[in-house]
């Protein structure tokens, strides 16, 4: 089960994007790669949902963007986490941990 790429849990893509940007600004492709790598290929991000998510997060004021040169000397749009985005990420992380722990508690007796 873990080898096959899985779809994302509804609504978690936004959180993953924010988390990926916590350390440093990145461009779209980089973000997709990072999510795939860190999740060890469990999550594969489809551009059809990635780009709308960028637009959504930008609108909410959690991201801002900037055109910069890449390591390959190409211009790319870099996404940067804003202060508001950082706050949002903290809140979502806490909420996620709470829910995950609760679900784990419910599932525990069975395993």
């Amino acid at each position: 089960m873990t080898d096959k790429p899985a779809g994302l849990v509804q609504g978690t893509l936004d959180m993953l994007i924010l988390k990926t940007l916590e350390l440093e600004p990145m461009h779209g492709y980089g973000i997709a790669m990072r999510i795939e790598q860190i999740s060890k290929g469990v999550f594969q991000v489809n551009p059809g949902s990635l780009f709308p998510a960028f637009r959504r997060l930008e609108r909410a004021g959690w991201l801002k963007c900037e055109w910069r040169d890449t390591e390959n000397n190409r211009r790319a749009k870099y996404y940067i986490l804003t202060a508001l985005g950082r706050k949002q990420l903290k809140g979502e992380t806490r909420e996620w941990a709470r829910q995950a722990a609760a679900i784990a508690r419910i599932l525990e007796p069975e395993s």
Binding site: Y29, N46, F51, A60, R74, R75
Partner: protein
């Protein structure tokens, strides 16, 4: 905060659209490049890497579309685009757009017009301050009341009103009023205007302030009425005085008495009766002056007033009703008419007062027209549904023509929602245009409807201003129909797989059974609904025909009613009979007058009087009610009413001769066991004076009295010569074959020759008949109009479907013909399809009509809603029209050139 940012971002997006698009393009290109490079690093060739990357990423247009969909401003933008695009498409198809808008406008117009009337009659609040505070005090259940009933709303007597006024607690102000008509001509021919009797505080409680002068106030309505003034309406002021401000202080002659104009009510105030406007108003206390010997002001059995008022703050209808019940017994004890016998008195004392809502005023139109109007609204809604089905069908046809366009757009990334939105924008445009035109149409139609139920003696006045209810109704039906005719085809049109269409080279792929099934279903439902409307139309027109052709017992044409007012002559009671007989003789002598007679009651005029009679039949006394009419000799021959037995009244019958009567067949059946009544006797039960016995000298055929719909009522006719007390007016019926105009002028000069002080009023009897059939005629016309619309729409629908089917099966027809089928068999083939649709539609329609027909039962005369002939006629009409509509395309199919048809593939 985030909303504001979203708004700002959206506005920026709108203005910097091109830059944003460029950036998105660049970003996506970069993403693709990065993917390719990554794959090349893993050892793929550049070409293979590019291919793999493209497949992985999907269509860039589709991604862009999804990104755009995130932001609200794109919605606005695409809506605008859609509207522009829709407008362009409609401009390229003027025939389609015109047909669609016209049928929508007709549907919306008809619905709005009828709703507008319902709104005006039933729902609209009175145009006064805080109408919701208004309530009416009346007897909750007043069955079996006795006495004189004058005015349209004889709810209470004046003594009762005075008691209620003194004892009620729930109202901050209470007033009484009654509608009436006044003759304001100083002499000669009568000039009738709509009038109001009002208590002194009428305007004060309603909160009406004068436009000119002052309005009536409590000091104007004191017993005795020294020098009362008259208040006139704005419309009357404009019409009769040209809006001249010097009107104050001028005199108006009301029923021969001069009254000073003291004020004008503001425009828009029509009283508290919906459907009528008043022209002049007088205080209650003047009533004895105007009605003189017929005054009901102080009569305890004279019913003529309606009592209304404003509830005090904190008083609900229930609380006020409870208080009214408490004071009821005391009030009825104090106002008990002295002449009532024990039975009547017991009944009278059992009455209970109640308080009822009056925010919408009162209206006799409600009982007459409310249900018919709801029924007509239902019929109009059916027409609307048929029009929607028709449009849906047209849209479906267009959708299949555009299916390749749709597929192409989906293939390059348009979402389904986006396409549906675009198709809906087109329907919305049609709907808006239809609604705009429809509202105009509704205005004209409402005026026509009001004019058609208005009569010269009771002109209808309706406040037809647009209100939120009408606007909401129109918007509602427009939206509903847009969704009905727009959404289904839009859903269908976008339900395609792009691959399938792109693969199929030539002909349509979606016109499979499912798609065509929907169109057939629409036509079937159109035919079913049309049948309901046609059945309705035929039912109402047959009902009207039965009423108009009915044997009312008299010949309606060629009779003129002349009403004479002799008040000015001041004849003493004992000379009146002789004078009236003399006038009748003079009238009979006019050349061209075939026959003339005096009548106490004119049939269908709405007037009538009845008495309790006691008859001896086979040794057993029967008591019951009989209508009564006092007539002169030749009354029956003037009406052409056959004398079945015995004799007419003649000069033998006088005040000194034995009392005689002529009765109709219904009287004979009820009181004399159907035997020949000539020679039998009966008595009239009356409170006061001598009452018979009356010897029956003649038997006449049954005639209608109040209404053409009624069953024949037992009626007795008494000779006018034996009447003890003659009034100061005389009604003469004149039969003549000459022209009405010359007859009236001859009558005028004859009467004026007798005495210039006599007032005259003429009414051709046909007009009374017409008035009594107003509602039936309205129903027949409206339902006929709707039926016609329905048939036209359904025919167009059927034609469209058959024509479409012919086109779809062109190659099949070509093959059949190439294989030797003759044109007759092709026509048969096509007609088969049409007759299946027609048959199913008619079957469903018949079932629905039978189920819905009950709603019309009480409005029909002389036939049941399940009338067999009606159904046969309706089915035949619809079948004939439908056959014609499908024969045209079927014949076209049979004339196809087989080679051309095959090459077409």
């Amino acid at each position: 905060m985030s909303l504001l940012r979203n708004l700002a971002g959206g506005l920026r997006g709108l203005f910097q659209k091109e830059q944003a698009e460029r950036e998105l393009d660049e970003e996506l290109r970069g993403y693709l490049e990065a993917t390719v490079e990554e794959k090349m690093r893993r050892g793929l060739s550049r070409e293979a890497a590019e291919r793999a990357a493209r497949i992985e990423m999907g269509g860039p247009e589709s991604i862009k579309e999804q990104v755009r969909a995130v932001s609200w401003e794109s919605l606005l933008e695409t809506l605008w685009q859609d509207l522009k695009f829709g407008l362009r498409l409609l401009r390229f198809n003027p025939a389609f757009a015109g047909a669609a808008i016209l049928s929508l406008a007709l549907g919306i117009g008809a619905n709005t017009a009828i709703f507008q009337l319902l709104d005006a009659i039933r729902m609209r609040s009175l145009p006064v301050k805080n109408p919701q505070e208004l309530a009416e005090v009346r007897i909750a259940d007043r069955n079996g009341a006795t006495g004189s009933f004058v005015t349209r709303y004889p709810k209470l007597t004046n003594p009762q009103w005075e008691q209620i006024r003194g004892q009620q607690q729930g109202f901050s102000g209470l007033f009484a009023w009654g509608p009436t008509t006044f003759n304001i001509s100083p002499g000669g021919e009568v000039h009738t205007v709509q009038g109001l009797w009002v208590s002194g505080n009428f305007y004060e409680v309603l909160g009406i302030s004068p436009e000119q002068g002052r309005l009536l106030s409590p000091p104007d309505d004191l017993p005795g009425c020294a020098a009362p003034g008259v208040v006139i309406s704005h419309a009357f002021w404009q019409r009769e005085f040209g809006g001249d401000t010097s009107v104050l202080g001028r005199k108006i002659t009301v029923e021969k008495h001069p009254f000073e104009v003291i004020g004008v009510t503001p425009a828009g105030f029509y009283g508290v009766e919906v459907g009528r406007n008043f022209e002049i108003a007088l205080p209650l206390c003047v009533e004895p002056v105007i009605r003189s010997e017929f005054s009901v002001l102080n009569r305890r059995d004279g019913w003529w007033l309606t009592v209304m008022g404003r509830l005090k703050p904190g008083w609900t209808l229930d609380r006020a009703s409870a208080q009214a019940r408490v004071i009821s017994l005391g009030i009825f004890e104090a106002t008990l008419p002295a002449e009532f016998d024990a039975g009547d008195a017991k009944h009278y004392l059992g009455y209970q007062l109640g308080v009822f809502p009056a925010d919408t005023g009162v209206s006799e139109l409600r009982s007459t027209y409310e249900n018919p109007l709801w029924l007509m609204l239902a019929l109009a809604a059916l027409v609307m549904l048929i029009a929607s089905a028709n449009l849906a069908n047209l849209m479906l046809a267009r959708a299949s023509a555009r299916e390749r366009e749709m597929c192409m757009r989906m293939a390059v990334g348009a979402t389904r929602g986006r396409l549906i939105r675009q198709l809906l924008a087109e329907s919305l445009l049609l709907g808006l245009a239809g609604a705009l035109l429809g509202v105009q149409l509704a205005h004209a139609l409402t005026r026509l409807l009001v004019a058609s139920i208005s009569t010269p003696s009771a002109p209808l006045f309706m406040d037809m201003a647009m209100d939120w209810r009408i606007a909401g109704f129109t918007a509602g039906i427009t939206t509903l129909t847009c969704v009905l005719f727009g959404l289904t085809p839009a859903l269908r049109a976008t339900q395609v797989s792009p691959g399938a269409v792109l693969k199929s080279s030539g002909r349509s792929v979606i016109s499979g059974p499912a798609r065509f099934g929907l169109r057939r279903g629409l036509v079937v439902s159109q035919i079913a609904m049309s049948l309901m409307l046609v059945v309705g139309a035929i039912l109402f027109s047959r009902s009207l025909q039965k009423l108009a052709r009915l044997d009312a017992g008299f010949t309606q044409n060629g009779v003129l009613e002349m009403d004479l007012d002799l008040t000015e002559l001041h004849l003493p009671v004992e000379r009146r009979a002789e004078f009236q007989r003399f006038v009748l003789q003079q009238v009979r002598a006019i050349p061209g007058v075939d026959s003339a007679a005096e009548a106490g009651i004119v049939p269908l005029s709405g007037d009538g009087q009845n008495r309790q009679v006691l008859a001896n039949s086979a040794g057993q006394v029967i008591e019951g009610r009989s209508e009564m009419n006092e007539v002169s000799p030749k009354y029956f021959s003037t009406w052409h009413t056959p004398m079945l037995a015995g004799r007419d009244f003649d000069d033998r019958d006088s005040l000194t001769s034995p009392l005689v009567a002529i009765v109709n067949e219904a009287f004979g059946r009820k009181y004399l066991a159907g035997a020949n009544p000539v020679g039998a006797t009966f008595r009239i039960k009356s409170e006061s004076k001598g009452t018979g016995p009356y010897l029956i000298v003649g038997l006449v055929k049954d005639t209608k009295i109040y209404d053409l719909r009624e069953d024949f009522l037992p009626t007795m006719f008494l000779p006018v010569a034996q009447k003890a007390h003659h009034e100061q007016n005389e009604t003469i019926l004149i039969r003549s074959q000459g022209s009405l105009f010359s007859l009236i002028s001859a009558l005028k000069s004859t009467v004026q020759h007798i005495d210039r002080g006599i007032d005259m009023d003429f009414t051709p009897f046909d007009r009374l008949v017409e008035v009594s059939l107003l509602r039936d005629r309205l129903m027949a016309r409206l339902s006929g109009f709707f039926g016609l619309l329905a048939v036209v729409l359904a025919t167009v629908g059927l034609y469209g479907v058959i024509a479409y089917m012919v086109e779809r099966r062109t190659s099949e027809i070509g093959i059949r013909m190439a294989l030797g089928a003759d044109s007759g068999s092709i026509v048969r083939l096509m007609m088969q399809e049409a007759s299946v649709l027609l048959g199913v539609g008619l079957l469903i329609g018949t079932a629905l009509s039978l189920a819905a027909g009950r709603a019309a039962a009480t409005m029909l005369f002389g036939l049941k809603p399940t009338d067999f002939i009606t159904y046969v006629l309706a089915v035949a009409t619809l079948s004939a029209v439908a056959a014609l509509a499908s024969l045209l395309p079927a014949r076209r199919a049979s004339r196809l050139d087989p080679m051309a048809a095959l090459r077409n593939e």
